[in-house]
């Protein structure tokens, strides 16, 4: 459990950050979101990532937390990226 929640938070955080980007908004919903919505997504995405780090630090201390957080963020960003790729690919068919 000490990995699952922070990892899910990282996944959600990166999903938020990805949808705060013009290119992804066009790819997924066909048009850009309003500036305010984009801003909110960006702030919430970043905050959720920080929450994940906060949890890891609380549970594991700074040293181990930073290592695990680095792994979680790398993998979560990669999964969001693969998800977007799959979506765009399916959408094109």
């Amino acid at each position: 459990m000490s990995h699952l929640l922070p990892f899910m938070l990282c996944l959600a955080g990166f999903a938020g950050l990805a949808f705060a980007m013009d290119r992804q908004q066009r790819n997924v919903i066909g048009r850009p979101l309003k500036a305010a919505a984009t801003y909110v997504l960006r702030v919430v995405g970043a905050c959720v990532l920080l929450c994940a780090l906060g949890l890891l630090v609380t549970w594991n201390g700074w040293g181990l937390a930073l290592v695990i957080f680095s792994g979680h963020t790398s993998l979560a960003a990669g999964l969001v990226y693969c998800g977007l790729l799959a979506y765009v690919k399916m959408d094109a068919r």
Partner: protein, 547 residues
């Protein structure tokens, strides 16, 4: 690693900006030792599971469902040593833990005499019986681990210098890549399908950027692990007397220098009690190594070191005991700030502190790093193909890179799979069996290189990727046919080490097969698109053949 396509597509500006300079530096630093870097990355990645791979490669050793009591095991092995190597001046055993189902030990044979350090012996022991195990002779996962930083068939020091040079090139490639990649945040989640060079670039960027903290950390800390070799001068100036050097060594390892024996016999006190004290201090399964110097002599000393689990540092922590009485002499749990900095950086590189999930994270992100180097190597040819005057007859340098890519990337997969096949197929009675497993690795790799030079690049890629896929996919079948531990047996027994290796082979086979299919489907460049030049669209169409 991370070039900007815009830099390539736009006409060159007069004067060279920092980005163009860095782009070139990145390209050449990445290419020159790129194949060595790829091999270091892949074997290093696999090494995160070297202990598990070693278990798989010694199928005669039973699966260890629970870690045996380390204190009892230590006593059992020590008793065996007192019988089998009575005159030894030093022995050291690595206790079994959650990842190791055997005890690895080494020892000096015979006493140290002036002018002679005595010979060395080593072996694996069964924790349950204390007897030397009769498993097949193999280096196990340690071969990939050692290859990762000292290769093979060459003097260790030269090899480590070569590994250091490659790591330094990698560090340069990472830093120059970050400077070159001007849209690191804007392009963070960008991938453009079917756009030839752009697609390769996007994949390369994603693999690089997502794992950037890891890639930087692993390269830098890799250099730190061998810093005493690469930069010995500070230490030479600072530590000049024997006492200073000994104190320095003590900051880096728990090794006890054997003193002069008194020549008065005195049996060792209970090793079990000593390890029990270490367990009380560090946790039941968290004693690492037990080392004895001058065992059987009145001057005997025993050190029990702490295991690696849960602490990001390789700095030694140990309890030292007087051998004959078993009295605790001292406990060392900290080192100086400089030594601890080194210990933490070293620990970060090896990742031995990891729980199983963190270990998988290490593996996966390191695998991304391997793919980053691989995509970078392939992109070198993809980018240049469009500029060739005649792509059917590229110049010799291009041809060499193209073929080295095939053997360096697809060929290495075949060689590594061949190593595992050799582990299952070589007869147990073969003299120098462990060495022959390694010879098979290199013979297979050499054959893939020859094949890459004989065949056309695209055919070579497809054939080698299929060969790797087949060898990996059939490995669980071979395991089932040659051992009594097939996948279904492992599943019912809860033997997760064997299950994981079998399933990983399957997953890697799927990756290789997918790459083979995609490469085979790729259309060769159209002749009309070959005009040198002019239109980026035409150039894009001509890039793909052979990659």
């Amino acid at each position: 690693m991370m070039h900007s396509v815009a830099d390539e597509d736009e006409p060159r500006l007069t004067g060279r900006g920092i980005r163009q300079s860095m782009s070139q530096l990145h390209t050449w630093a990445g290419l020159l030792l790129g194949w060595i870097l790829y091999a270091m990355f892949l074997t290093g990645t696999v090494s995160y599971f070297k202990d598990e791979l070693s278990q798989w490669m010694r199928p005669e050793l039973a699966y260890q469902a629970q870690v045996p009591d380390q204190a009892a095991v230590a006593q059992r092995i020590a008793d065996e040593f007192s019988r089998s190597i009575p005159g030894s001046s030093q022995w050291s055993m690595k206790l079994p833990d959650a990842r190791n189902n055997s005890v690895y030990a080494f020892w000096r044979t015979g006493p140290r005499t002036p002018g002679s350090r005595g010979g060395f012996g080593e072996g694996y022991f069964d924790p349950a019986t204390g007897q030397k195990v009769t498993a097949r002779d193999t280096l196990g996962g340690d071969f990939f681990y050692r290859f990762h930083f000292q290769f093979h068939y060459m003097p260790v020091v030269w090899a480590r210098w070569l590994a250091g040079a490659a790591a330094m090139f990698m560090l340069v490639a990472i830093i120059s890549g970050v400077i070159t990649h001007k849209k690191i945040f804007i392009d963070f989640f960008t991938f453009r399908w079917g756009k030839g060079q752009r697609s390769w670039l996007d994949a390369h960027n994603a693999l690089s950027v997502f794992g950037l903290p890891f890639h930087f950390m692993i390269t830098y800390t890799g250099l730190v692990t061998l810093m005493a070799l690469y930069m010995p001068w500070g230490e030479r100036v600072a530590f000049q007397t024997a006492a200073e050097r000994q104190q320095y060594a003590a900051e880096l390892s728990a090794f006890i220098a054997p003193g002069r024996p008194a020549g008065v016999g005195a049996p060792l006190a209970s090793i079990e009690d000593m390890v029990r004290q270490a367990q009380d201090r560090w946790g039941r399964d968290n004693a690492g190594r037990v080392t004895a110097v001058n065992p059987g002599d009145a001057t005997a000393r025993v050190a029990v070191t702490r295991g690696d689990a849960g602490r990001i540092s390789m700095s030694p922590q140990s309890m030292e005991f007087e051998g004959p009485s078993g009295r605790l002499l001292r406990v060392r749990e900290s080192v100086g700030a400089a030594a601890e900095t080194r210990g933490v950086l070293y620990g970060l590189h090896l990742g031995r502190f990891s729980d199983i999930v963190t270990r998988w994270l290490y593996f996966l992100v390191s695998f991304m790093g391997t793919a980053m180097v691989g995509t970078g190597l392939v992109m070198w040819t993809v980018k240049r193909r469009q500029k060739l005057p005649n792509p059917d007859h590229p110049h010799v340098g291009f041809r060499a890179v193209e073929r080295l890519n095939v053997a360096g990337i697809a060929g290495l997969s075949i060689a590594m799979a061949a190593f595992l096949w050799a582990n299952r197929l070589l007869p147990q009675s073969l003299a120098g069996r462990a060495d022959w497993e390694i010879h098979v690795f290199f013979i297979a790799w050499a054959l893939t290189l020859a094949h890459a030079f004989v065949r056309r690049p695209k055919a070579a890629w497809v054939e080698q990727l299929w060969a790797a896929a087949a060898m990996l996919a059939l490995l669980p079948v071979l395991n089932a046919a040659t051992t009594s531990r097939p996948l279904w047996h492992s599943l019912t027994q809860g033997d997760w080490v064997f299950v994981a290796v079998d399933l990983m082979c399957g997953a890697l086979a799927v990756i290789h097969a997918t790459l083979a299919i995609r490469t085979a489907r790729r259309q060769p460049a159209r002749k009309a698109a070959r005009k040198p030049s002019s239109s980026p669209a035409a150039a894009t169409a001509s890039r793909q053949e052979g990659t």
